[in-house]
Symmetry: D2
Subunit: 345 residues, 4 copies
């Protein structure tokens, strides 16, 4: 197959390249960029010397339709809204890593993203690609909205207890922590080393655009859920997301029973690993891999559970899950080209 | 005055030394250690070359009673239980930075610390030294229990809304993040650079020994509060604590009104700084200083508030607050020798 | 005294403020910025809440001449070239932290800085302010060129053996390492957290503009020295410089004798600390302080010495040394307001 | 093939497992440990959940001879000296990642390692496995001494100019920088996060045991070389080594000509990447990969060259090169199972 990556000079794009250039079913990667043209890819990324002789190409929809089977959009907000509609009814499958196509309601997008939304009929046609929860629809998708990094960790952490209606639907609180690479490759005061190092910082308090995405997905699993509390913190590290989730149980249960439920729920999900009783994952333990690791524990004193879900934000939170969806969309084994170990330490 | 520091070779001890050696009312510091004896202090801490010609002394209660006016105990759990009782009815004032004397109930201590507690009459005589909330008792204390690092940030973050009974007393959830120096100077797998770097890790889930300390203090402010949910995360940084606090409001209010309440509540507290609307503190902004910075925001969608409190765990979370209490206990201005700016960046 | 800081919103400027706002002989700090005007200083630096109620002022030479006794220029290259000449023959003393006035030869400046130089007569009037080596001239300076960060560590590390002519004058190799704050507060791809973290990077190979500054100073100590080899590396840390220096001995000697020489040479230099035999300083050991720590060792096998000098680049490498010079220029004790301990850990 | 890893719970061992468990010619990995026995490997390394169901086995030479084709020793100094001799004349090929077998002279080993050496006849039989320089001997080796991390970067950086006799043989100075993982997985004061973070530290000045290894290899390339100056610095990062090398040219040449020489010299070395003129590699650019990247530049002013060589210390500096040698020893393509991209960022 021939794949194209739009936004190849971003962190999501170069991570896609790392995976796809070794994927057994990918014959060719074509790399597109709006900012640079006809320069060697290794000029932006010298770590790829010897591994890539690509030159960056300009974005040209007609050329893409001719040369590409699957197109990955690893682009800033707003680009996919413009680009994706041009591929409707073409033979090109689109996997959009941006947030443009994830929300089903135009008004909700515009409220949280504070920019214009694509037409609602495009949104309707887009399949939300949380691989573990939506495999059948993904398999048939032509236009796929790849989930956000925080939603991936949060929804996977909550899905079993939400679907089983074991928790108070108003009680969900998610305290998320992320590495800096999630903010992208552009330099800004907020990503300056001296500002991030030896620092923890909360940002977008109550206003993160991933909130409605999580709420929409949880509502689909249990329609009595309408809101969550959610905050994000910037950590002094490059990769990794941890979602620490607090929920109230509606009836008494044990950690052991819940772990059984989670293991059962994810029994066909090779990238979700449930930890044993009294074990919790750390972000390092999924570094560079497509795994989502989950640990949990009942707190008898308070009637709450603490659930911890970790991912590598550039892998399961972006490029890795995109390739997982690429596999599902094309009838390949879900783990193809993706089932490698985390780098440790 | 003459002060003694027991546990001078730990991180808490050396931070005490940094402050006290510049304190205008301290004539002499005597440094005690159980692990090293009669060696120059600069052998452990070469960064103090030219600044200290102390030699470490062995712990000797009778010698201390003769030579010391105030004794700081910056020691591991269990040491103060043995040492403090020997100074009852002496002229030496004790400021204990360990957790041994903070809880009023022996059984609670033994349940959470999993070690034997000092006699309850000793506990009764110990004053809990959260400087901002307990100034009168601190001023008269002979035996002072200096608060834990997490309790300091959490209680200061919650006190105004708890005391005013503005929040659902069962709704308190605290997600805490800390730098590694809080784990002390001893090497262990958990403090190995390669294990901490580029990693976020949750630990002691539902079991942190600071939980009952926080609950006791909140209960004193509002006796309908009996429990909280509380978790701690290890961050890849050396200093700094952030407590992200989630509570449900019992009635509608605004961020502005709550900020007014906090500013009023802490109007006589020079080390507590309340941020403006839409501003939140980061840990870096108190690095090396004795400040506790607090930001908050009402979430109308969920009826909850997010409160963020940050401190430097070795300063306001340990040595800094100990000296603040030392000032109060001795009738000095609270800020004496302590009111310096954070190091930034 | 009244002092002004131009470039107050940079890292050098805010570090100057940290020191000067606590300096016993400074009555007032006036803060100037070309980028922001009439906004509270705490808007740029919330860590200074409660500690500063300054508003940033526009640069106005006439106003400065009226209100300021000493003016610190913590500005990018080129600004001082424009500003300093306007204060010649005024009552205002100028301490310039930029590189504009350090080199005595216009052509050398233009070759290495690749920008126009100030008139040579201005250069001639400027005193090079390496405090330890030039105290008499500094005491009488009206226009002071504060040394660069790398030159400070390197020259202090080399001065005794250079002055005593103990080393081969063509053999000097300096391998320098620096934290990121030296690159200033502006965001750029090179200071992006994700690019700096978990990375070591060499830059400006053979071309660093501090090379001629070091060569000029060494030549002044021993005029047979005309060049050095010098490279700089960016470390994943915020503060700190280490210069690892390799030189060939012209005759056999011992580590002990050299340490004696260094201790003698710096016997009146309170901020230079010579380590004992077999001890070497690390950057952490001077963090936040004005010390320069030096260790050295003879290698009998190769006939070379390894000399290691460390400083905090924002302190002894910039703002700290500027205040040290301010003290000397104004007849205060050299250590006034500056003699505090490093932050450790 | 069946391979065994002794020291599987160390950082070198787990990195070997990461590679070998995906190697197309490895049918089975057997994991040995002296410290733990019959426990699941994932107990030490939860990041390998789902990827390993191994249990750690005790070291038993007879069992190994029966079950293992190639045995990797990723063990502390001294272990291989005991273990390797027991496999002489067996069918098991040994790849020793420790320093025990690298030096050809017993007395040199004992002088630098300060421990007893194996018999000299064993040393004579061991092949030094710097893959790029010694391919024929490696192909025929039964007992292979895998190079140290610093020697690998240093020797690869120097080999072309040393072999071509372009440099003054007494002029070699190597300033090396390393991440903390090189110190192994054991906790010690020197690897405590709070001591390493925000710090650069020189160690083992003039005394590093890799010095004679480098000297021996350079002497083999050019027998007029008898010593080098070499120092190592600990950086605040987990992985990565940079060797910054300073040498004097014996005759005038250009950067361009030298780059041509290097490209020619390494034209059959798929893991060595020579950078273009004016480009230098950073450690991040080889992170997690087996590449050694080299950049260099002539300094006309001083007549010296600066050469920079970077590797991932756990990959090309240990486990990666061991597998590269495993490939060569067994007649596989050198890059088999090893030719993957660095993780970036």
């Amino acid at each position: 197959m021939k794949v194209g990556i739009v936004g190849a000079t971003g962190y999501g794009g170069v991570e896609l390249y790392r995976i796809l250039s070794n994927h057994p079913h990918v014959d060719e990667c074509i790399l597109y960029s709006s900012s640079e043209m006809d320069v060697p890819y290794t000029q932006s990324f010298p770590h790829l010397n010897n591994l890539s002789d690509h030159r960056l190409k300009n974005i040209d929809v007609e050329e893409m339709k001719k040369n590409v089977d699957v197109l990955f959009l690893a682009t800033p907000p707003g680009v996919s809204s413009k680009l994706s509609p041009q591929f409707i009814n073409s033979d090109v499958k689109i996997i959009d890593l941006s947030g443009d196509l994830r929300l089903k309601q135009k008004s909700v997008y515009e409220q949280w993203y504070k920019r214009e939304c694509v037409e609602e009929e495009i949104l309707e046609g887009a399949v939300y690609g949380l691989s573990e929860l939506n495999k059948v629809d993904i398999a048939n998708a032509q236009l796929l909205a790849n989930p956000g990094c925080f939603p991936t960790a949060t929804i996977l952490g909550l899905a079993p207890v939400v679907k089983q209606k074991l928790i108070d639907e108003k009680s969900i609180i998610v305290d998320a922590k992320t590495g800096v690479s999630g903010a992208g490759r552009n330099a800004s005061p907020g990503t300056h080393y001296s500002e991030v190092n030896e620092n923890v910082k909360i940002y977008k308090v109550h206003e993160h655009q991933h909130i409605p995405e999580i709420e929409q997905a949880l509502h689909n699993l249990n329609d009595s859920i309408s809101f969550i509390s959610f905050n994000t913190h910037l950590m002094p590290m490059t990769r990794g997301i941890m979602a620490t989730i607090y929920v109230s149980l509606t009836e008494t249960t044990t950690t052991e029973k819940l772990l059984d439920l989670y293991n059962e729920f994810y029994s066909n999900s090779p990238f979700v690993r449930i930890r044993k009783d009294n074990e919790f994952p750390s972000t390092r333990e999924v570094y560079g891999s497509n795994f989502c690791d989950i640990g949990l524990k009942v707190d008898e004193r308070t009637g709450r559970i603490t659930i911890v879900a970790v991912i590598d934000n550039l892998m399961k939170g972006a490029a890795g899950q995109a390739v997982q969806n690429f596999n599902i969309m094309n009838g390949f084994e879900e783990t193809t080209g993706l089932y490698f170990a985390p780098i440790y330490p």
